[in-house]
Symmetry: none
DNA sequence: AGGTCCGTGCGGGGAATCCCTGAGATCGCC
DNA sequence: GGCGATCTCAGGGATTCCCCGCACGGACCT
């Protein structure tokens, strides 16, 4: 029985490239998602063996997607794809429940290896990303957890991406007033009182890029 | 005689995916480059018909790479790949000599179409990226550098730092309406219509830090 | 069971914004 | 002098932002 794979990346061209390589390698691609929400929906319905999740998707953070996917389909395993090689995302990704951490700067062969290992129940982390892990252990496991709720992070990310409150409400299927409420709570929690500082916070927190 | 193609992208995995798709489409991939400098070197030696250049490569800017490639191999044509869809890079890319401008969020079919058209000597620009072009023509096409005036940059920086328009007016000793006017013209010039994107632009332009 | 957070949802209302119009002054340049 | 760009200021309408309150349900504690 082949390993059933879900691809989540907002660059359609790369999804297609990845799909071509995977099916050429005797792996089954059961679905493609162009954003986090779609990824969660498809994972819930299809329960793939492996979900390849790009960490930097617009709308919904790749780490939150990871959590949701695992919640909706506990037997699926998530491999995070990222283009950052020198960051501390590894730790966050593993904490979110990811079983694999692969860099886009790696080759396809490494991805296949990661898929095989993860499918066997092991964990794969790119060699380039070990140091942050070691350092995280050395500095003790005291995690400073994000003061924001998932919903709030979601709203903050959309704000920082330039969406208006109305657009956010539409994207999340809630009323404008509710979206405003989330925004207000984010501002209160962070003690920030203007949009610009909110955007800078989101960038510093690596929720989005400049 | 098949079209000879060079791929330049710092994500090896995507290069391989692209290569798989291209050779499946009867196109010849003569080389892959993982950074701008290598792309220039390979283009100089191999003189490919088409160079696919990712605009966001580390080390050497995709636009500079475009210029260098065309200088070293004038008969080659460059297609720029980008993940930004709402920016004014198109103009810069074409000014740098690119013959194609393709979004990674487009499908592979569009890329092939772009390659075919560019190989025929035509120019391909993704439909989503026409507006900046039109506006660049309307506003006269010979501004090389920062389109903002000194005052406008000043105001933009204060906006990005989180100041309200009233505070900006106070800081610059001008009326609120004037500050608002500057803000409006900054937005018009940059084709940006929300504060969040303004902040991100300021950070990208290194006017402020996140 | 009762109490208390917390997250999420919604509304009112005042302040600030975005976006358009128009207009006078100054400066540099051909 | 004429032309264009910049800086200055203003009015007004539509929209959005931001703070206030309130309600419901779940989690957790006693």
């Amino acid at each position: 029985m082949p390993t059933r794979i879900l691809i989540a990346d907002d660059h359609r061209m790369y999804r297609e490239g990845l799909r071509a390589l995977l099916i050429g390698d005797d792996l089954e691609v059961v679905a493609e998602a162009s954003d986090g929400r779609e990824a969660i929906r498809l994972a819930t319905r299809l329960k793939p063996d492996i979900a390849l999740v790009d960490i930097s998707m617009s709308g919904l953070n790749g780490l939150d997607v990871t959590r949701e996917v695992l919640c909706a389909s506990p037997r699926s395993r998530v491999i995070v794809l990222t283009m950052h090689k020198d960051d501390a995302y590894v730790v966050d990704a593993l904490r979110a429940g990811a079983s694999g951490y692969v860099l886009k700067s790696q080759g396809f062969a490494e991805l296949v290896q990661a898929i095989r290992e993860v499918a066997r129940g092991e964990v794969y982390v790119a060699k380039e990303c070990w140091r942050p892990l070691v350092e995280a252990c050395q500095s003790g496991g005291d995690q400073i957890h994000d003061p924001l709720s998932r919903r709030e992070r979601e709203v903050l990310q959309l704000i920082a991406e330039g969406k208006t409150t109305k657009e956010i409400a539409g994207a999340l299927n809630i009323s404008v007033k509710t979206a405003e409420s989330h925004r207000g709570r984010v501002m209160a929690k962070l003690d920030i009182h203007d949009t610009a500082s909110l955007v800078r916070y989101a960038i510093r927190s690596r929720m989005i890029e400049a």
